[in-house]
């Protein structure tokens, strides 16, 4: 297997998270009605970090939630493996400004599933999307409102977001994939 | 004049106490001479080299189902007797549970006519005890005896009414016919599907208790002693039955008995696990009445067969079509297609040292013949023996041959066996009926 290329180190991630926090508050003109919802699993960690960053400069912490979209994936028959859903915990989202947070934006299918899932719980006034990494190769008309870092990748590259809480260190790496035949 | 000479086989003839290397000469369908080098004395003959093989009288089966007339999709007289030949049998007694049942001269004669036309080996019909096997009134035993039946039986259905059974036994004495009973009390069996015990509990299937058999064995022995009749107990399957029969015979009651190869070797675990324990099988091919029992029953049956308390190994060959078996266990027809695996399966006991080969041969030949007195019948003198003058029915056996049971290669239409894919040690190399080869494998070497 080829060596992974480091595209964002711990410091880079920290700065990206802080910047995203500022941009969210700026776009929303404050913290009122803001809800940060992370997509399981690393999106949840990122949402918590962003909430902490906002709290540091706004002195108010927006409510956060966790969303599992496993059951809303529409590709069960093709995925060849089942994933165990993780818990979904949501604060009130009715009429709120929900910021979906995920680690990597790729095909867009996860985000579509996340929006479907959200709708089962209530009707937010606005849904925004924030991701740490946008690696391209969208299959649906979905784009992120705010991006930590754009990373050009090939289709079969593997983008790994490692976060201290789950992986023991902070890093974003790209493992080159096989060239498409 | 046609002559068949079989050279250098180990001739086992239990009736004469013979067990040794010898030649055997058959002239015009009857045994002519038996002895060392006798074959060399014959100038012109068809010759078979039996070196390394056992030569024994053709097997006699007291209990087969040929299904014709009425159930030709399961078996015919032609296919059933072809299976018999492959299994080493030269005489089979055909149970009367056909449609129509064999409860009249006409029905018996039609079977004999069909056998004349298409049977590969000898077919001796058994008549019903009661009309239509309905258990209500006696079938005309005199008429049936006149037509040539060798015994009376209602087969799968025991005569449940004790008074009727008593009269059946009493009446049979006038014609010297054994009354063969499938001993299981239907009121204790109810809708039982297999032996009542831990395997049935494991599978959630309703049980047929051993006592359902034993109560009828006890009752019928008492009735036989009351009437002085000849009671034959079909397919004994429990240790309790063995004890009852043993005691009855010690008292001098005229009670004979048979046991099947499957009841001697397979236990109720066969239904659930098929020998592997890997997964539950609910194997309908191991569904049989009476059911396969427990190890302790097997032990008692083997001992009784060894001691002669049980006279005969009989197959209860019960062929069924796939549609009778590839269905829910409760709906599946009971029975095992047994003619072609009988010798190989029974040989397990010999290889395990629990039965001698001559004893097994006895229980497959002269044992059943004498149990029913078949050799006292006109034209059947010497049946089950290789005495000079006896019928030229014999079998060549390879006790050490390993072979794999492949039901698709059965001559029987019934492929219902729990032994599919298993290896058996002990095969039938050739079968000679009336001096003619009716079955032979590549192992049979013509000289």
């Amino acid at each position: 297997m080829p060596d992974p290329a480091l595209v964002l180190d711990a410091e880079g991630i920290r700065r990206a998270v802080t910047r995203l926090g500022h941009e969210i508050v700026e776009a929303n003109r404050g913290v009122d009605d803001l809800v940060l919802v992370g997509i399981q699993s690393r999106g949840v960690t990122l949402a918590e970090r962003i909430a902490s960053a906002i709290e540091a400069f706004e002195h108010r912490r927006p409510p956060t939630g966790a969303l599992d979209v496993t059951m809303h994936r529409d590709d069960f028959a093709r995925s060849g493996l089942r994933q165990t859903p993780r818990p979904t915990r949501l604060p009130a989202i009715e009429g709120k400004i929900v910021v979906l947070v995920d680690d990597v934006l790729y095909t867009g299918r996860t985000i579509r599933a996340a929006m479907d899932t959200l709708n089962d719980y209530g009707r937010p006034a606005v849904i925004r999307l924030v991701v740490l990494v946008d690696r391209g190769h969208r299959e649906l008309p979905i784009r992120a409102d705010l991006v930590g870092k754009n990373i050009p990748t090939a289709r079969f590259d593997d983008v790994r977001v490692l976060l201290n809480e789950e992986d023991g260190r902070d890093a974003v790496e790209v493992v080159p994939g096989k060239v498409e035949a | 004049m046609t002559t068949l000479a079989i050279h250098n086989g180990r001739v086992i003839d239990p009736a004469l106490g013979r067990d040794g290397i010898a030649d055997l000469v058959i002239v015009d369908g009857r045994i002519s001479r038996v002895g060392p080098n006798e074959g060399d004395m014959v100038v012109e003959a068809e010759r078979i080299d039996a070196s390394g093989l056992v030569v024994a009288p053709g097997f006699v089966d007291l209990h087969v189902h040929l299904r014709e007339p009425g159930f030709e999709y399961k078996e015919t007289i032609a296919s059933g007797t072809a299976a018999a030949a492959r299994g080493g049998y030269t005489t089979v007694c055909a149970m009367p549970n056909t449609r129509p049942p064999l409860d009249s001269r006409a029905a018996v004669e039609s079977v004999l006519r069909e056998a004349e036309a298409s049977a590969r080996v000898r077919v001796l019909p058994i008549g019903c005890i009661t009309s239509g096997r309905a258990g209500k009134e006696l079938a005309p035993a005199g008429e049936l005896a006149g037509a040539g039946v060798v015994a009376l039986s209602d087969d799968g259905d025991a005569v449940a009414d004790p008074s009727l059974m008593r009269h059946a036994l009493e009446y049979s004495t006038r014609f010297g016919l054994p009354v063969a009973q499938h001993c299981e009390d239907p009121r204790l069996v109810r809708d039982g599907q297999m032996h009542e015990g831990w395997v049935a509990t494991r599978l959630g299937l309703r049980g047929r208790p051993a006592s359902a058999e034993e109560t009828f064995v006890a009752r019928d022995i008492a009735l036989a002693e009351l009437t002085g009749a000849h009671l034959h107990i079909c397919h004994v399957s429990t240790a309790g039955s063995v004890a009852l029969i043993r005691a009855a015979r010690e008292r001098g009651a005229h009670v004979t008995a048979e046991v099947t190869p499957h009841h001697l070797t397979l236990s109720h675990e066969e239904v659930a696990f098929g020998g592997s324990y890997a997964e539950l099988t609910y194997d309908t091919n191991a569904k049989v009445n009476p059911p396969l029992r427990e190890e302790s029953d097997l032990e008692a049956l083997i001992a009784a067969l060894r001691d002669g308390v049980i006279d005969a190994v009989a197959t209860d060959h019960a062929p069924h079509a796939t549609i009778d078996k590839e269905i829910e266990f409760d709906l599946a027809a009971p029975g095992i297609s047994g003619l072609e695996t009988a010798f190989g399966l029974a040989m397990r006991l010999v290889h395990e040292g629990r039965l001698s080969l001559p004893t097994l041969v006895e229980r497959l030949t002269v044992g059943p013949v004498r149990a029913w007195g078949l050799d006292r019948r006109h034209g059947l003198e010497g049946l089950g023996t290789l005495a000079p003058g006896a019928l030229g029915d014999l079998v060549l056996l390879d006790p050490e041959a390993d072979w794999t049971v492949d039901p698709e290669r059965f001559a029987s239409r019934g492929r219902n066996t729990p032994l599919a894919g298993r290896t058996l040690r002990g095969g039938v190399v050739a079968t000679v009926f009336g001096g003619r080869l009716v079955h032979q494998t590549e192992r049979a070497v013509a000289l």
Binding site: M71, R73, R78, Q83, T84, D120 | L205, R206
Partner: protein
């Protein structure tokens, strides 16, 4: 032999730290659910954890997700059933599967419409999972042998009812947590109860101490380990057998009353329902001997006044109604697990990476 029941070691759940995906459902090795006799502790845990997520979905404002879109579930019921059938229908629908329910009478089977034909026909119509309820033990095993659709046993004769047993385990665990060492007592018609049989396997796998209690005529033969040959000792789950209900219930953490069919009296197995109730009805007096925080369960449908008193059935220890809700969640979990790894005809398996994100 079926010795795995004792030799299975619960391995730790493997969380895949290499990538950003959810943990895979590693502890799952079934294409059919025929009974719990071949379930490991770990597999049971997988189902019960997943059932928790499924309850979460059931509690949503709109309880419907597309996880099983394109997956077809056929309910093939040869025996009348209200709750099990409805439970499977609901489970399938909440997950977005197509659900088709057929009532086939056993008499039509006897007329020659074979189970195998029916199952093969359903598969030809693209059924992915076939849920079978049948009056005859072993029928789902027969079906599983003749189709590659997943077969779920929704009750076969007196043999097994694995989904009921899983929902029983799930319900117990929600209330008492770890079940190892807990005393679970089943009272009633053990001999004819498929629920009891499957519960025995499930409870054995999680290490509970199980007592079955009923009149001698309603206890199956060979259940007592000493009644089996040594080599078959582990062929049935370990269990203590009692015929005295007071003694059985003493110290129980969970008491489960089993349905008594009135046929048992007609079949001569019981003198009268009245006498049965006197000796075996689960009543407040008897439950006073159980642990103070005991749970009361019943697989339903119950005959109040016969095997269970109306007062305790509605009492504070009763979790009978919760069993029903949990039934849907557990069956959702099972359908979800069975749907994994199956490809629809004509669709090629894509690279894993694409499936993941």
């Amino acid at each position: 032999m079926t010795t795995e029941i004792t030799s299975r070691v619960a391995g730790s759940r493997r969380h895949n730290a290499r990538t950003s995906e959810s943990p895979r459902t590693d502890a799952w090795n079934h294409t059919d659910i025929l009974d719990l006799d071949d379930f490991t502790r770990e597999e049971i845990d997988t189902v019960l954890e997943l059932a928790d997520r499924m309850r979460e979905i059931l509690d949503r404002r709109i309880a419907r997700v597309p996880a099983l879109r394109g997956f077809t579930v056929v309910n093939l019921f040869y025996e009348p059933s209200t709750r099990t059938r409805a439970s499977f229908e609901l489970a399938g629908k909440v997950l977005g599967a197509d659900v088709l329910s057929l009532s086939a009478s056993t008499s039509s089977v006897q007329k020659g419409e074979s189970l195998i034909d029916t199952v093969r026909t359903m598969r030809a119509m693209r059924a992915d999972a076939i849920v079978i309820r049948h009056a005859m033990a072993g029928a789902p095993y027969l079906a599983a042998k003749h189709t590659d659709a997943s077969i779920i046993n929704a009750g076969d004769g007196a043999h097994a009812h694995p989904t009921q047993a899983l929902l029983d385990l799930y319900t117990m665990r929600r209330h008492v947590g770890e079940l190892a060492g807990k005393r679970v007592v089943m009272v009633g018609d053990i001999a004819h109860s498929r629920v009891a049989r499957s519960d025995l396997w499930g409870l054995a796998a999680v290490g509970a101490e199980v007592v079955v209690c009923g009149p001698p005529t309603l206890l199956p033969r060979g259940l007592r380990a000493g009644d089996r040959p040594a080599h078959a000792e582990s062929a049935l789950p370990p269990v203590t057998i009692e015929t005295d209900a007071d003694r059985a219930i003493a110290g129980a953490d969970v008491v489960m009353a089993l349905r008594l069919q009135s046929e048992r009296q007609e079949g001569g197995l019981l003198p009268s329902l009245h006498e049965y109730a006197q000796h075996y009805q689960v009543t407040a007096e008897r439950l006073a001997r159980a642990q103070p925080n005991h749970l009361l369960m019943h697989p339903g449908p119950k005959n109040e006044g016969i095997e269970i008193s109306g007062a305790v059935a509605k009492g504070s220890h009763s979790i009978i109604e919760e069993q029903v809700t949990n039934g849907v969640a557990v069956r959702m979990a099972l359908l979800y697990l069975l749907s994994g790894g199956k490809e629809l005809p004509g669709e090629a398996a894509p690279a894993r990476e694409e499936a993941r994100r």
